[in-house]
């Protein structure tokens, strides 16, 4: 063992109570760091999970056609695009084949969607219709798990609507209702299920139909309006969306682009967390630095005798740096272990409905990061005391 390491260890174990208190102080800051990191990352994961479990991770749509200005025979010619032109994906089976070949894509659901009105008696409400294959009703949103009345079965040609919309129109399972599409088609449908997801957009405005029933309503005998994709890892959506856009020439939108407010919110949380983590690290640095400075003062005579016997300033400084590193490492490992235990305990506390009291993710505590930062911070914290120790004048110190 290097002699400076032995001396440093002897110094920090000489006053075990003081060292214990110092290590506990560092540990406490590490616990705060771990807790905040696990909480913020957990909250971010929770929100992301909440959102991504109910929406498509990637949406493939036809590219918007815009009016272009062309030049022909040195003349400018404007080429208008009719707003009545129906956007659709005609070769959607091929697109599905391409998407299926991309690793990470788990589910692909062809969709015929459009706007419509639900009419019951005098009452009319707008509704966004999602025409899906009955077997894929749960592909994008697990509607069957949110059904509160009836079933999620679309094979019978019925309509599934949100609970808020059902309340507004006074609809129940089995009630017949008239659906008028934006293309002018009408059809009398029966309500087969009522769901409550908890997102007002879905519960108030969305209805699910079999794609077979939706096609004539939206005048799409062959094509579809979009494809919804679920991925194994929602975080891969931007990369896979880019691949899909290049290989299909369709407009490919990852879920992050449609939920920028979520990203902004999690970013803001992250920044807040960074501040708290920064203060926790600062507390570590200040506590170690002040304790070692006190130690430098208390051991002036000893440092003086070392210097008098010709021991170099570097050796003295190294002893104090090692003390900082020891305290930092002990505090970091102890704090990381305690922080993990705290997070595990907090994550196990549940509310009456069985959901977690705190959206904390014990595995997301950035343990390696905090251990490395604490040890580096502790070494930096020891620099000032180390410099002070190495600058001790042996004559003055011995005379004291």
């Amino acid at each position: 063992m290097p002699f400076s390491l032995l001396v440093a260890w002897r110094y920090i174990t000489a006053n075990s109570l003081q060292t214990l208190l110092l290590v506990l102080g560092v540990s406490l800051s590490v616990v705060v760091f771990v807790f905040i990191t696990a909480l913020i990352n957990g909250l971010s994961l929770f929100l992301t999970q909440e959102i991504t479990s109910k929406i498509a991770h990637i949406e493939l749509e036809p590219v918007n056609k815009i009016a272009r200005v062309l030049t022909a025979d040195s003349r400018f010619v404007a080429q208008p695009v009719s707003t009545l032109q129906r956007k659709q994906i005609r070769n959607w089976q091929q697109v599905i084949e391409i998407a299926e070949s991309i690793p990470g894509v788990s589910v692909i659901s062809p969709i015929v969607d459009g706007n419509a009105f639900l009419v019951r008696g005098e009452a009319t409400q707008p509704i966004a219709i999602q025409g899906v294959e009955p077997s894929k009703i749960d592909a994008i949103t697990k509607i069957s798990s949110y059904i509160i009345k009836g079933t999620a079965d679309l094979t019978t040609g019925g309509l599934i609507i949100g609970a808020d919309l059902a309340d507004e129109l006074g609809l129940f399972v089995g009630t017949p209702v008239l659906l008028k599409s934006e293309r002018g088609s009408e059809r009398l449908l029966s309500i087969t299920g009522i769901f409550r997801v908890g997102l007002s957009n879905l519960d108030q405005r969305v209805g699910f139909l079999s794609i077979r029933v939706a096609r004539p309503l939206f005048d799409l005998p062959d094509g579809i309006t979009s494809l919804g994709l679920k991925l194994d890892d929602p975080a891969d959506a931007p990369a896979i969306a880019k691949i899909l856009q290049n290989s299909t020439q369709l407009k490919s939108t990852p879920w992050q682009e449609k939920n920028k407010s979520l990203q902004n919110a999690t970013d803001a949380q992250g920044r807040t967390g960074n501040f708290i983590q920064g203060f926790a690290l600062l507390a570590i640095i200040i506590s170690i630095s002040s304790a070692l400075l006190l130690s430098t003062y208390r051991r002036r005579a000893e440092i003086g005798i070392m210097r008098a016997t010709g021991i170099s300033r570097q050796f003295v400084a190294t002893v104090f740096i090692f003390q900082g590193v020891f305290i930092g490492a002990l505090g970091a490992f102890l704090g990381a272990a305690a922080g993990y235990q705290l997070c595990v305990q907090l994550a196990s506390i549940t509310k009456a409905d069985g959901s977690a009291m705190l959206p904390i993710a014990p595995s997301e505590g950035s343990y390696m990061l905090v251990i490395i930062l604490t040890i580096v911070g502790a070494a930096l914290a020891a620099v000032l005391p180390a410099r002070a120790a190495s600058a001790v004048d042996p004559v003055e110190a011995i005379q004291q």
Binding site: A14, I305, M306, A308, T309
Partner: protein, 245 residues
């Protein structure tokens, strides 16, 4: 310079260990300057035991600190083993202290959290980076020499005053120094312990030919030395050889 000093300088030219020439030390306190050493000339021959005596404030400790390379003189020349030390850096002076000089202080200044053996080994182990088996062996030999081999694993804080001072003497010898400075080595000891320590120093001086420069108020210590250098008002007032001590 007195005639006696001149005689010693000339007679020991071949075995000169440390040579101090016209050492002046001035301390500045704001606007006020105090000249503590006013041109000291001193030659320390090898293998002798020299006592440095003087009243409080005479400049005795300052001279000891300068000769021990713990403090820089304001002017004057200092040579150790024929090497000039005047222009050396702080690190080089530390290295000289470690390799050629030993120190014994009045309050022993042991490291309380280390064993007697570790205290003795410290000045050898720190520069080498490790407490090697060779250093341990030599430390044990030195502890044996000072009669404390059975206390090698005792913490310094567990030793008596006399034992601590004997450990400090062993520590001062770990790097085979040519010259050992002892600042009031018996000043904090009872009569018996003081006698033991002086006998030990004399024994080491005779058997190992180690040179000692001992600062002391105690006439009993001084008369046991080969020479006495008396300082008064920053100058050498008298230098007495063993035949006249």
């Amino acid at each position: 310079m007195s005639k006696v000093v001149s005689r010693i300088v000339k007679s020991n030219t071949n075995s000169t260990l440390l040579l101090a020439n016209n050492i002046i030390k001035t301390f500045r306190n704001g606007e006020q300057e105090t000249c503590v050493l006013k041109g000291i000339d001193l030659t320390i021959p090898q293998g002798k035991m020299i006592a440095l005596q003087g009243a409080s404030g005479s400049g005795k400790s300052t001279l000891l600190n300068i000769l021990g390379l713990l403090m820089r003189q304001t002017s004057g020349k200092l040579m150790l083993l024929d090497n000039s030390l005047t222009d050396l850096s702080d690190a080089e002076l530390s290295n000289y202290r470690n390799r050629h000089l030993g120190f014994v202080f009045q309050y022993h200044n042991l490291l309380p959290d280390f064993t007697a053996l570790e205290n003795v080994a410290f000045p050898a182990a720190a520069p080498r980076g490790r407490l090697t088996a060779d250093i341990k062996k030599r430390s044990l030999l030195l502890l044996d020499k000072v009669g404390l081999s059975d206390r090698s694993n005792f913490l310094a804080s567990q030793l008596s005053g006399g034992q601590k001072q004997r450990v400090a003497i062993a520590r001062s010898l770990i790097n085979n120094p040519k010259l050992v400075f002892a600042d009031e080595p018996t000043g904090n000891l009872d009569q018996d312990s003081a006698k033991q320590v002086m006998n030990l120093l004399r024994d080491i001086n005779r058997t190992d030919n180690t040179t000692f420069l001992i600062s002391t108020h105690d006439s009993n210590v001084a008369v046991n030395c080969d020479k006495i250098v008396r300082i008064a008002d920053g100058k050498i007032a008298a230098l007495l050889e063993d035949d006249i001590c």
